[in-house]
Amino acid sequence: MTGRALRLAALVALAPALAAPAPQAEDAPQRYRQVAVAMRHLVDEEMDQARALVEPLLEAHPGDPAVAMAAGVLRLHEQRYDEAVRLLEASDASSPGTPGDWLELARKAREVTRGYQRAEGRHVVVFHPKGKDEVLVPYLQEMLEAERAALERAFGRVPAGKVAVEIVPSTRDLARLSTLSEEEIKTSGTIAICKFNKLMVTSPKALLRGYDWLDTAAHEYVHYVVTRHTRNQTPIWLHEGIAKWAETLWRGRGGESMSPYSAALLRDAARQGRLITFAQMHPSMAKLPSQEDAALAFAEVLAAVEWIERRGGPGALVKVLDNVAEGRPADQAVSRALSLPFDAFLAEWRRWMATRPLPEGGDRELKVLRFKGDPKHGGSHSEWADIPDDRARGFARLGEIFRERGRWEAARQEYAKAVSRVGGRSAALASKFALASLMSGREGEAAAVLGEAVRLHPGYAALHVNMGRLYAKKQSWQAARDAFLLANRTDPFDPEIHAGLARAYEALGEKALAEREQRFAGLLAGGDER
C-alpha cells in the first residue's frame, strides 16, 4: 500500500471518530486537527513527530475517541499491541466500513505475537516465537548492524533508535500482520515486509528449502531506512530498486543480488519489449501475478538503480533520495540528480538492460519459493522434475533409489551418469552426487563437483553443507565455517549446519560461538517443529 493510500485510509478511518460528539467542545477542532496530523505522520511512519503530537493529547484527553484512535495506531507502530487494541476499542474505530481497520490489524498482531520472545541488540529488537526461531536472532542482529553501518556510509544517515523485527512462522501469519493476502504473498513470493514501523520476516522454516533470509531482511531494512529518509515519498519502483541494490551491502558491494537468471530474463524482456512498467509495479510488487513477473520487476528496478549509480557516480543515489525527501516526484529527483531528462534516463536504462553483461555463476533458473505445507509446491521429488533430460532424470532417480538404501557407491555411479548428461544444471543433483562421492570416499570428485555446483547455485544450502562436510573432513576449519555460514544464509534450521559450525568454531578457538552453535544444533535436533 502506498503512502497516499494509507493516508487516505487513515483519514477515512478517522472520520467516525471526528464525527463523534466532542466532550470538550471549546478546544475540539484544534485537537482533531492535531489528531489528523498525527495520523498523517503515522502513515508516513514519522514516528517521532507522531509521538510528539499524540502523547500530550492522550494525557490530556484520555477518553476522547479520536485521540484514542491516534494513540492506538501509534501503539500499533510501537509494537505495544495490548495497548493498541485497548485504545482502538475505545475509539470505536471498528465500526463497519472503516478502511484500514486498525483495530483488526492490532488484534491480529497481538494474536500472532502472543508468547513471542524479545531479543534486544544495539540497534535491533527481534521478536520471535519461542523455540527454534531463536537460531535466527544472532545472525539477524549481526547482519542488520552491518547493513546499518553500510547504509550509513552509503546514504550519510540512518534512523536513530532501534528497528523492530518480527519473525513470523508462516506466510499466513505474515498476511495477518500485513495488508496483503496469503495468496498474494505466495503468488509473488513476498516473504518479508517493512511496514508499520517494523520489519516482518517469514521464518525460513516456512519454506521447503529455506530462502535467502538474511538478504531479504537486509532488503526490508533498506526500505525502512529509505522510508524514513524520504518521509515515505519514494515511489515503489525506486523503493524496491534501492532496496534490491543495497540488500547485499552488509556482505559486499551493492547490486550483487542480480542472478544470471534475472539478468537473462531482464535482457530478453528488454529486447522483446515485455518489460513491466513502473505503473504495473504499483501499489506493490507483491500484487504482481506471478513469481516470474516479480523477478522481472525486481531485475528492472535493480537495473535502474544500477544505472543511476553508473551514470551519476557515487552519491547519485543519495541525491535522488534527497530530492525525493524534498518533495520532488521521482522522475524529477532522478533527472536532477543525474542532470539528465527523465526520458533520456529511461532510454539509457532500457539500453542498459538489453546490454548489461550477464553475471558469471549464480542461479540459472528462477528460484521459485516452495512453501512448506502447501501441496501445490510439491514434495521431495519435485526437484527432479527440474532436470530436463529424461535419461538423466532416470539415472538421478536410480541414484536416489540406491541412496535411500544406503548403497552409496551404486548411487554415486548413477548420479554420475545423470551429471554426465546434464552437467551442473541441477543443484539438487549435484548436491546428491557430491554427497554420494563423499560417502564413498571419493573426496576429490566431491570437491570438483561441489566447486562447480556452488558457482552455479550459490544459494543452494545443501551444496554448502556438503562443502562444509568436505572441509571438515579435511580439517580446513576456516573454510568449513564459511561453507556452513553460507548454508545458514538459506537454511538455518538444518541442525547439521550448526553442529558443523560448532566444530569449526571449536577448532578455531571461538569457544563462546562454538557453545552457542552447539546449543542451536541441540535445539534444532530436539524435535520436529519444522
Binding site: 501441496p375 501445490k376 514434495g379 522434475a385 529424461d390 532416470g394
Partner: protein, 1053 residues
C-alpha cells in the same frame, strides 16, 4: 540230719515264693494303674472332640505301661528272689549271721558227700551247723522278713486310679463313658438302614408328557415302578398292596436343580449348573380302593426315588424300598452352518446362500439369523419357526446389497436356534460364527503389487551389487571371472523368478494384467542378456585357462555385455517403479470413489430418516456414520501411505493438494455425527452436502491427475502409438497387396484348372511313389544315429504330408510338401553316408553293415520323391508360361511394392528396438515377430518377381499373420493406456505374441495365433492341414464320405 537240711530248703523256698507273689502283685497294681490312667486320658481327649487317632495312642500307651511294669517285676525278682543266695538274702535281710549260716548250710549240704568221702571236714559238725541253722530259720517270720509293702503300694495306686475313673466317669457322664467305650472298643459300627421289603405288586405307570413336546401319553404295565421321563412329565402310578391298607402314601425324594443357562455352541454351561440341594421327602397321598388298590402320581422334576408307605395316622406300618426316578434332561438344541465355509469372499452385491442343520432332542422352536456389520449393532431376524420338529435343515439367503458393505469389510453371521422347552424355559444355542468378506479388488491388487515390488527390490539389489562389485574395464583374471559368473547366475535366477511371478499374477483375476506382462517382459529381457553374458564369460574363462589372457576383443565384449545388463536392469527398475506408481495412483482414485459412494449412501439414509424418524433409525444412522468414519480413516491412512511412495511424476502436486483436503472430511463427519446426536437434521444434511462437494472436487482432481503420466512416460506412450499407426499402415498396405496378388493367383489357377483335372489319373502313381519314398526313409531309420535324427524326422513327416495331400488330390499342397521334403531327405542321405563311411573306417562304434544299409535306403528314397516333384511341377507350369504379359507386369509392380513394404517394416522394427531400449514394454521376441513378417515379405517379393502368384500370395498371408499378432498386442496395450496415446505406456504382453517364446507355455488362450478373416484368405497353416488330412484318413461311414470330404476340402481351401 536230713530233716534239718529239708527245713532249711523249705524256709528258703518259702522266702522265694513270697517275694515272687509280692512282685507279681506290685506289677499288677502299677501296670494296671498306668494303663487305666492312659485309657482315661484317651477317653477324655475323645470326649473333648479329638479325632479317632487318640484311641491307638491311648491303647499303645496302656500296653506300654503294662509291659514296663511286667519287665520291672521280672527284673526285681531275678535280682533278689531267685536262687538260694537270693532267698537267703531275702529271708535274713536284717540278720547277717543267719544269712551266712543259711548260705553255708546250703553250700555244705551241696558238698556233704564229698566232705564225707574225703573227710576233709567233720560231717557231724556240718550236720550240727545245719540243725542249728534250721532251728534259727524256723524262728524267722516270713511276713516280717519279706514285707508286702510294694504290693500294697501298687494296690493303693490301682485303687487311686480306680477312684479317679469313678470320679471322671461320674463327672464326664455318658459322653466320657461313650468315649471310654470308643477307646476300648473302637468306633461303634453304624447301624444299616432297616431292610425294607417290597410292599406292593407290579406297578402300572402312565406318562403324560409336557404339551410342548407333542408326545402322546404312554402307559407301561407290569413294571417295578421305575420312572424315567423328561422333566415336567406327569406320572400316574397304579399298584396293589400286599396287605389290606387304609392309608398309603408316596414318599418322593428328588434333588432340586436350577435350570442350567444356555451358551453359544449348543452346550449347557457347566458354570451355570447349580449343585443339587437335597430337600426332605415329599409326601403324596395315594388313593386306596378296595382295601388294596393304590393309585396316585407325581410330576417329574428331577431324578431321585420314591417309596410306597402304608400308614395309620402318624404311625408307619410299612415302608417299601426306594424306586428310582430318572428325569431325562432336555438337551440344548444344536445348529450348524454346513455351507459356505467359515469365511468366504464374495462381491458386495451378492446373495450368500447359507445351508444349515438344526436339531433338538425334544423339539425346535425357531431359527434366528444374526448379522454383525462392522461398527454396528447385531441385527437379528427370525428366519424360520418350527412346529416342534426335532431335526430340520434348510437354506437361507443373505442379501448383502442392503448392508452396503464396502470392499474388504467383513460381515459376521451366525444362526441361533431355540427349543420349545416350556418347562424350564426355551434353551438357545448358536452356530459357530462365519464371515463373509467383501471381495476387495484393491486388496488383491495390493498383494500382487507387493509381490512384484519384492522382486523389484531384488532387481535393485542385483543392480547395486553389480555396480559396486563387478570389475569393469580391467584385465580379467579367474577371480574376477568368478565374480562375474556369480552375477550371471543371479541374473538368470532373477529372470526365472520374475517369469514365475508373472505366471502367478496372470492366474489371479484381480492382479493387474500389465503387471504380469511387465514382469514377463523384464524376465525375458534380463534372461536374454544374462545368457549372452554367461556364454561370453564362459568363452573368456576358457581363454584364460588356456593362458591367453591378452584377448582384449573378448574382454571388451564381456564388458559391453555387462554394461548392457546394467542398462537392462536400470531400464527395468525405472519402468517398474513407474508402473507401480501408476497402479498406486489409480488405487487412490478407486478409494476416493468408494468414499464418495459411501457418502451418498449416508445422505440417502439421512433423507429417509428425515421422512420417517425413529430411535432405531437414528441408531442405525449413527452406526453408519461410525462405519463411514472408520472406513474413511482407513482410506485416508492408506491414501497417505500410497502418496508417500508415489513419485510425483504420477501423483502430481495438484492431486496431493486435493488429498490434503480429504483431512477436512473427517472433521465434516464428526460434525454430522454431532448434529445427528443433537437431532439437527437440517444441519447434518447441510454438512453432508458440503462434504459431498469437497469429495467431488477431490475425486475429480485425483481422476484428472492420477492418470497423467510423467513427461518421459507420455513421450514413450506417444512413440508406442506412433508405432501402432505405422504398423496399421503397413498392414493395410500388405492386405491390399495380398488381395491384388490373390486376383492374379485366381487367374493362374483358372487357367491350369483343366490340367489339374487331367492329373487325377496320375495321382495314384504319384501316391505309390510317395509311399515308396516314405517306406525307404522308414527303413533307413533303423540306422539313424543322433546326428541324423532331425533330418530323418522331418523327411518322414513331410513325406507323410505328401501322401495325405495326394490322397486328397490337393496337388498344390502336395507340391509344397514334396519340395519341403526333399532337402531334409538329401541331408539324411548325406549324413547316413558319412556315418556309414565312419563306421566302415572305425568299426568299433557301430555296425558298418547296418549303417551302410541305412545310407543306401535313404539314397534310394530320393528318386521316387524327385519323380513326384517333377510330375507335380509339370502339373503347375511356370506362371510365366501361363499368365499373360499384363498379369506379369502386375506381378512385377506388386513385387516392387512388396519390397517397399518390407523396407517400411524394417523401419518399424528399428523403431521398436529403440523403444525396447527405453522401457521393457515389449517382450524380447517382439522384434522377431516383425522380423518374421519381414522375412515373408522379402520372400513374397522374390516370388512375385519370379511371377509366381501362388507362392507369393502364400508368403504375403504369412507376413500378415505375423503382423496381426503384433498388432493385437499393440491394440491391447493402447486399450489399457487409453487417452489416445498420451497415457501411461503399459507393457505389451508377451502372451499376445505366440511367438514360441518361453512365456508361451503359460497356457493363456490369448496367445493363439490370430486368424485372418475372409473367404479364400490363404492356405491353412501347414500343421492344421496336416491334422485335417490325418483326420480325413480316419475314414467316415460310407454314406457320409462325400460330405466329409467336401467339408475338409472347404476347411483347407
Amino acid at each position: 540230719m536230713a530233716v534239718a537240711y529239708s527245713e532249711i530248703a523249705r524256709a528258703l523256698a518259702g522266702a522265694r515264693r513270697r517275694r515272687g507273689w509280692i512282685a507279681a502283685a506290685a506289677f499288677l497294681g502299677y501296670g494296671a494303674s498306668a494303663a487305666l490312667l492312659f485309657l482315661l486320658l484317651g477317653a477324655a481327649a475323645l470326649s473333648l472332640g479329638a479325632g479317632p487317632w487318640v484311641r491307638p495312642i491311648a491303647l499303645s500307651l496302656a500296653v506300654c505301661a503294662v509291659g514296663a511294669a511286667a519287665g520291672w517285676t521280672v527284673l526285681s525278682v531275678l535280682r533278689s528272689g531267685l536262687g538260694e543266695p537270693g532267698a537267703a538274702r531275702a529271708l535274713a535281710a536284717e540278720d547277717e549271721s543267719l544269712r551266712s549260716d543259711l548260705l553255708s548250710a546250703v553250700e555244705l549240704e551241696r558238698d556233704r558227700g564229698e566232705v564225707q568221702r574225703t573227710g576233709r571236714f567233720s560231717v557231724a559238725l556240718l550236720d550240727a551247723h545245719a540243725v542249728r541253722t534250721a532251728e534259727r530259720a524256723r524262728g524267722v517270720d516270713l511276713r516280717r522278713a519279706i514285707p508286702a509293702r510294694p504290693a500294697r503300694r501298687a494296690g493303693l495306686a490301682l485303687g487311686g486310679v480306680s477312684l479317679l475313673h469313678l470320679v471322671a466317669l461320674v463327672a464326664g457322664g455318658a459322653t466320657l463313658a461313650g468315649a471310654y467305650g470308643r477307646v476300648l472298643a473302637g468306633e461303634p459300627a453304624r447301624a444299616g438302614p432297616p431292610r425294607a421289603e417290597p410292599i406292593t405288586g407290579d406297578v402300572q405307570i402312565t406318562y403324560r408328557y409336557p404339551a410342548y413336546m407333542g408326545r402322546p401319553e404312554k402307559k407301561l404295565s407290569g413294571t417295578g415302578g421305575e420312572v424315567a421321563a423328561p422333566s415336567g412329565t406327569e406320572v400316574r402310578l397304579e399298584t396293589r398292596s400286599d396287605r389290606p391298607v387304609v392309608e398309603a402314601q408316596i414318599l418322593l425324594e428328588t434333588g432340586a436343580r436350577t435350570a442350567p443357562a444356555a451358551r453359544a455352541g449348543g452346550e449347557p454351561d457347566p458354570a451355570g449348573q447349580a449343585a443339587p440341594a437335597r430337600e426332605g421327602p415329599q409326601v403324596l397321598a395315594l388313593s386306596v380302593a378296595n382295601g388294596r388298590d393304590l393309585s396316585g402320581g407325581f410330576v417329574v422334576k428331577d431324578s431321585g426315588s420314591y417309596r410306597f408307605r402304608f400308614t395309620r395316622g402318624s404311625k408307619v406300618l410299612a415302608l417299601g424300598p426306594p424306586i428310582p426316578v430318572a428325569a431325562e434332561p432336555d438337551a440344548f438344541p444344536e445348529v450348524r452352518i454346513t455351507a459356505p465355509a467359515q469365511e468366504v469372499e464374495v462381491d458386495a452385491r451378492d446373495r450368500v446362500r447359507v445351508d444349515w442343520i438344526a436339531s433338538d432332542d425334544v423339539g425346535l422352536q425357531d431359527l434366528t439369523l444374526v448379522l454383525k456389520v462392522p461398527a454396528a449393532e447385531e441385527k437379528r431376524r427370525v428366519v424360520r419357526s418350527f412346529d416342534a420338529t426335532r431335526r430340520e435343515s434348510g437354506s437361507l439367503e443373505v442379501d448383502l446389497a442392503p448392508l452396503r458393505l464396502a470392499e474388504g469389510e467383513k460381515l459376521l453371521y451366525w444362526l441361533e436356534v431355540r427349543d420349545g422347552d416350556a418347562v424350564s424355559g426355551p434353551k438357545r444355542a448358536a452356530s459357530t460364527t462365519h464371515a463373509v468378506k467383501i471381495y476387495s479388488e484393491a486388496e488383491h491388487r495390493r498383494a500382487a503389487l507387493q509381490k512384484a515390488q519384492a522382486l523389484w527390490e531384488e532387481m535393485v539389489r542385483l543392480l547395486g551389487d553389480r555396480l559396486e562389485r563387478l570389475p569393469r574395464g580391467e584385465k580379467s583374471n579367474l577371480e574376477s571371472l568368478s565374480v562375474g559368473e556369480s552375477f550371471d547366475l543371479r541374473g538368470r535366477t532373477l529372470a526365472d523368478r520374475l517369469r514365475a511371478a508373472a505366471a502367478e499374477l496372470r492366474r489371479d483375476r484381480s492382479a493387474p494384467a500389465e503387471l504380469a506382462a511387465a514382469l514377463a517382459n523384464v524376465s525375458g529381457g534380463v534372461r536374454a542378456v544374462a545368457e549372452r553374458t554367461a556364454t561370453a564369460r564362459l568363452n573368456l574363462g576358457r581363454l584364460l585357462r588356456m593362458g591367453r589372457a591378452d584377448d582384449l576383443r573378448l574382454q571388451r565384449w564381456v564388458d559391453d555385455l555387462d554394461a548392457e545388463m546394467d542398462a537392462e536392469l536400470e531400464k527395468d527398475v525405472l519402468y517398474l517403479e513407474k508402473l507401480f506408481d501408476q497402479r498406486k495412483a489409480e488405487d487412490l482414485v478407486r478409494m476416493a470413489r468408494d468414499l464418495a459412494q459411501r457418502r451418498r449412501d449416508l445422505a440417502s439414509l439421512l433423507e429417509k430418516y428425515r421422512q420417517a424418524p425413529s430411535d432405531q433409525a437414528r441408531k442405525e444412522l449413527l452406526a453408519e456414520v461410525a462405519r463411514l468414519k472408520a472406513r474413511m480413516q482407513e482410506m485416508l491412512a492408506r491414501m497417505a501411505e500410497l502418496a508417500k511412495g508415489i513419485d510425483d511424476e504420477h501423483m502430481n502436486a495438484e492431486a496431493l493438494a486435493e488429498m490434503s483436503r480429504s483431512k477436512d472430511l473427517m472433521g465434516g463427519l464428526d460434525r454430522v455425527a454431532e448434529m445427528l446426536q443433537k437431532g439437527d437434521l437440517e444441519a447434518a444434511l447441510r454438512e453432508l452436502d458440503a462434504m459431498g462437494s469437497l469429495m467431488q472436487e477431490m475425486l475429480a482432481s485425483l481422476e484428472r491427475t492420477a492418470g497423467q503420466p510423467g513427461k518421459q512416460n507420455a513421450a514413450l506412450a506417444k512413440e508406442m502409438m506412433e508405432l501402432k499407426r505405422q504398423l496399421e499402415a503397413v498392414q493395410a498396405e500388405q492386405e491390399q497387396l495380398a488381395a491384388e496378388t490373390e486376383r492374379v493367383k485366381a487367374e493362374y489357377r483358372r487357367r491350369i484348372a483343366e490340367r489339374i483335372q487331367a492329373a487325377e489319373d496320375r495321382a495314384r502313381h504319384m501316391a505309390e511313389l510317395a509311399r515308396e519314398a516314405r517306406e525307404r526313409v522308414r527303413e533307413a531309420g533303423k540306422g539313424v544315429g543322433m546326428r541324423s535324427e532331425e533330418a530323418f524326422g522331418t523327411s518322414r513327416d513331410r513325406l507323410q504330408d505328401l501322401e495325405k495331400a495326394l490322397a486328397m488330390r490337393d496337388f498344390d499342397a502336395a507340391l509344397e510338401s514334396v519340395r519341403r521334403a526333399l532337402p531334409p531327405m538329401q541331408r539324411l542321405a548325406i549324413e547316413l553316408e558319412e556315418d556309414a563311411l565312419t563306421a566302415e573306417r572305425y568299426p568299433m562304434g557301430r555296425e558298418p553293415e547296418r549303417a551302410r544299409e541305412a545310407a543306401q535306403k535313404a539314397e534310394a528314397a530320393l528318386p521316387p520323391a524327385r519323380q513326384v516333384r517333377q510330375e507335380l511341377e509339370r502339373l503347375f507350369p511356370d506362371p510365366r508360361a501361363v499368365l499373360g504379359p499384363g498379369e506379369q507386369a502386375r506381378l512385377d509392380r506388386q513385387s516392387r511394392r512388396q519390397a517397399e513394404l518390407e523396407r517400411q517394416a524394417g523401419a518399424m522394427q528399428q523403431r521398436l528396438q529403440q523403444l525396447m531400449k527405453e522401457a521393457p514394454i515389449f517382450p524380447p521376441q517382439a522384434p522377431q515377430l516383425v522380423g518374421e513378417s519381414r522375412g515373408h515379405m522379402q520372400q513374397a517379393a522374390e516370388e512375385l518377381g519370379r511371377k509366381n502368384p501362388q507362392r507369393g500370395h502364400s508368403q504375403q498371408r504369412q507376413a500378415l499373420d505375423a503382423l496381426s499378432r503384433f498388432r493385437k498386442g499393440l491394440e491391447e496395450m493402447a486399450r489399457r493406456g487409453g487417452r489416445g496415446g498420451g497415457g501411461f505406456p503399459f507393457p505389451f504382453a508377451a502372451v499376445d505374441l505366440g511367438g514360441g517364446g518361453e512365456e508361451g507355455s503359460m497356457g493363456d488362450p490369448s496367445r493363439e495365433k490370430v486368424e485372418i478373416p475372409g473367404a479364400e484368405a490363404h492356405r491353412a497353416p501347414e500343421e492344421f492341414r496336416r491334422d485335417l488330412l490325418e483326420a480325413m484318413k480316419q475314414g467316415a461311414p460310407e454314406a457320409y464320405q462325400a460330405e466329409v470330404k467336401r467339408y475338409y476340402e472347404e476347411l483347407v481351401r
